[in-house]
Symmetry: C2
Subunit: 684 residues, 2 copies
Amino acid sequence: MAQVRDPSKQNAVDMAAARAQTTINVSALRDTLHNGSEKWQKQAQIVDILSKDPVFDKSTRLFATRKELYIRGQALTNRLYELKEIHKWSREDEGTALSVLDDSLPISMSNFPFEPVFRLQASPELLAKYDQLIAHKGIIGCYLQTELAHGSNVGRLETTATYVPETREFEIHSPTLTSAKWWIGALGRSATHGVVQAKLILPDGKDMGPHLFLVQLRSLDTHMPFPGITMGDIGPKALAGFAATDNGFARFDHVRIPKENMLSKFAGVSDAGTYVTPPHAKLSYGGMLYIRSGMVTTAGWTIARGATVAIRYATVRRQGEVGHDGLERQTISYPSLHVRLVPLIARSYVFIELGRALSRGFDSLARGLASGDTSQLAEMHVMTSGLKVLVTTLAIQDLETARRSMGGHGFSAFAGVGRVYAEYLPAATYEGENFVLDGQVLRAALKAFRGLFTSKTPPAAKAPSLSPTSQYLRLLLDKTLIPPELKPSSWNQPATAILLLEWRAALLVNECAQTVEAPDATLTQRVSRAVTEAFVAARVGEMIDGLPTTLKGKEAEAVRKVYLLYLLTSVEGALVDLLSFGLFRATPTGNPARSRDPTRALRLAIAGLCAELLPEAIGLTDAFGFTDWELDSALGVYDGKVYEALWERVRHEPLNQTDVTEAYEPSIKPLMMRGRRIATSPKL
Amino acid sequence: MAQVRDPSKQNAVDMAAARAQTTINVSALRDTLHNGSEKWQKQAQIVDILSKDPVFDKSTRLFATRKELYIRGQALTNRLYELKEIHKWSREDEGTALSVLDDSLPISMSNFPFEPVFRLQASPELLAKYDQLIAHKGIIGCYLQTELAHGSNVGRLETTATYVPETREFEIHSPTLTSAKWWIGALGRSATHGVVQAKLILPDGKDMGPHLFLVQLRSLDTHMPFPGITMGDIGPKALAGFAATDNGFARFDHVRIPKENMLSKFAGVSDAGTYVTPPHAKLSYGGMLYIRSGMVTTAGWTIARGATVAIRYATVRRQGEVGHDGLERQTISYPSLHVRLVPLIARSYVFIELGRALSRGFDSLARGLASGDTSQLAEMHVMTSGLKVLVTTLAIQDLETARRSMGGHGFSAFAGVGRVYAEYLPAATYEGENFVLDGQVLRAALKAFRGLFTSKTPPAAKAPSLSPTSQYLRLLLDKTLIPPELKPSSWNQPATAILLLEWRAALLVNECAQTVEAPDATLTQRVSRAVTEAFVAARVGEMIDGLPTTLKGKEAEAVRKVYLLYLLTSVEGALVDLLSFGLFRATPTGNPARSRDPTRALRLAIAGLCAELLPEAIGLTDAFGFTDWELDSALGVYDGKVYEALWERVRHEPLNQTDVTEAYEPSIKPLMMRGRRIATSPKL
């Protein structure tokens, strides 16, 4: 018999070889991804502290009930803030600590949206009273907007806040079952206070629409619910996601709060009950935009988790054809696999960088809003709406691509990616349901289009004033502009891909404007995607141009390819539109010339880029800087010893703690006894 | 103040109105979907018995640990077989009972694949000894193929079965960690016996490749593992799926079994140790094909669950714009929503019917195999491989479409669809990983293509002998054939869609054959999908032609539209290929004629069909016949009272059983005390 070769020993060899083959400077890239060496060092320090603290151990969390996970989450939270005090962490460090945890903690719901909404809209007096308490978790807040039967359309919320001039109070009331606040993060079991979105009813019965009110929910002494409030947890979530968060419900039965508790920075009620008009009705959207702007970066880091795990496992997993070393090939070496995985790196890199730029944009918006300036609001709204849909849609897809690329083991909870998916999935429906947001992007796009073509100023004169999200419309203003000609070499040029994606947006919006009388229901999504991808593509072009200032040599070259790959896969995803509108007018090319497929050159260019990036794949994902504790994945371990990691983990499975299962005596034994009786019965 | 109108009361009104508006005879359709009135009645009877039995109560299962769910699953199993004896259920009734349960029970793994593999390949003597015991669950079996580091490529399995002529025994051995059998359903804690796939090693050291052996795993007296076998559960699965199944691992340390335990119907070893050649090496594939052929029907019923829940909820959920009744519109009335949901009905109906036809095909194959006839095997292999990929891919997508269509509440576990998704998801990677299967379909397609064009017989003469999965190749044999011209009215004709999908398959396979020297990595998937969709489209055409024999009047007309919708959405999904190869040569049309989008007429036709089917949507989904107990969904309740159902369910949430959470004293209180101390510290 041939000598037995243990494939589990090969794992570490393969991983070490892949790491040795990387030619880029991983730490330089890592610093860039983390916004500088200083921030990276700080994060690494925080991760080190948390991962060594037994409270943050993850080894049994997959076996716990949801109730246990909630209780564990609160222990994590308490310990995290204890560590914050011990190590004198700044507010930013606190955010870092929370962001490296992969448990959905209720306290995060207090930090966003409760805290920024409160801070943006509370009166100076209310702010003075609660600001420090909120900042240091002396009270725990939540933000009560969604109701059982009402979500996106805040105008239809049923909860009322009726002003009672006699006592200078508001009476918060839930008139129906369907007006119960629902899905509110941290409300179920944790929060002591909440900002409640309710229709303001004046003494004369006039309904002034939704406004915000601070309501104390639980006693600060006993944590008992306040009288008149029926509260609780809304139950488990799909796919066991968001287990540690107590999304909750609340019904208010004529609950009185002092007049001062109205969040009245921009709108209020006089003592007598007269409405004080807000300077701009949309000021209250600021909070939601803030959350959405953070979602781009989060999407980038989320895809990065999936990419790291899947690429590491595909590097050490050998399967299928036998290579020249006599072993089965590493699965990452199959083009059908790596053309699926390398683009995940591209989307991670782009979204991390793009999100950073967007947050800077939000800071500017927030400064404006604080002084009543709403000029940037509409543009920021379209931009964040479209981006929120794009990045959540892609990140969810990418996580599932990563999970499936791992074959059977991808369905093990120990692989870790399923858990990331379950925690991330609600992003498709929270903070603006994606289909609703698409509609808003479409409306804004049509408005911009009509603004160009229906007023008296010649359209061409308006080109310089087009906003970033409408830049693509310039293509419709100059008849001499034509879509780019496509040759195989075109795909080396970012400009080709960017221009194609802008043309697609322009022609789709034009199509939409021409056919409003008989709309095609699919256009909403197609336009939103097209407009947003045109915007992102232009930003990626700027990122490529700006590369020399941040990176050098091989790193700059690798990231340039990563960004280009992002653009080409965006074009690939847009093929139906591009082909439909005659924008993809490539002659069928390639070698051999017998190909009839005009998309072949693009597809080969993508495959070529992926193959060029392949030797750097481990380096590019190592640069995300995840520790094994952060990934919590047996298939994504840094040293590549995946089979030993799986073997180690099954030991902890609660079902394996007895020789004979507890189900044997009550169920399995009687089943088999009955079976044997019937099988040997003379009737047979 | 205006009178308060309670939207929760409106739910039942809306559902009753939708049901009243249905014009089709729901019970006639239901009988057809269930293969006749008799089978439907029997199923309804079984569901009635199970749903009234407290053992099958589902009200607390979402709160249980996986260990509890495993133990519960065994209790369900024991009770189910007790009921089988009490009610004298046939084998078919037993299958019905198991299929209406939505828990993944280990016993199902004993029924498939263990039992059919054993029955197909055991010698008559071994069969006589175990057949009845297996049939009546006197022993519990499992099928041990996959290993920790080896899946699709059975040729690389490491487990050995070495023949020892001295004692007429085989020695089963796992030489390495990576040779541990892994993922084996029912192995972890339940099974007493297993069919082990192992490399047969002859006394002279010759490796004869994988063969099958029956191995007893646990004592029939004590259920203790047999000496030399290290076994256990492999741990939780992603998304909390497959919780009740004990997928397990086993390592064999020189375990001896008698020679008779080799499954030797088609291959064996003489007492002295000489190999007895099998008549056909591929006979052992029969088992896997059987499982895959059942997956088409399962996909249909799985989509049906999601469709029923989502369409019911969208019928009673009101959101967004205010309609003429002064209420917000039912969400199902939005085209952007119903063009996503109605096609789910189409895929359910098609897959249920198609799966039934396929199972008949398998019966014929099985009869052939039993007598050594393997002529149908290759065709059946391609067909089931391609179909397995197609139906699992679409069913997973459709479930997620259904879940997301429900907005925020779709992420509640009480919605039920997430659970269906988690249970169904591994279908993408088990029984043949989808990307591996795509490769097999591609190879078969290229083989058929080359068979036509490289031999000496003129290709045209071969057209009549093309197999069903290669029929589309006829289009390449006659130069006078040209792709169909597309006019808006074309989309009323099933033939147009079918022919387009066949042309797409033909041109993609041709493209692939012309470019093998420089392959495009995306072609594998595209060809597999195209070939399979051409096959399915032709079958759907036959189903439409056959409609008059099974249904009449309005029901026949409705199902014709459902089938046509399936074809049109298949064309929509194929647009990249159709446009690339010049098959979609529609002049941009529609009203207004200013549209530039050639796909507009198709998209409007799909939207038009969905709108026509909309009044029947509740009827078409009621015809699936699911009871509330089967769906276990607060949003999919038959009477439409979704908000009352959600409210009822939150009462059972374990977190809600105390006024103050158990996390308060140990964690929340210290957190807030610290916060208040810091907030009021004089330093601030």
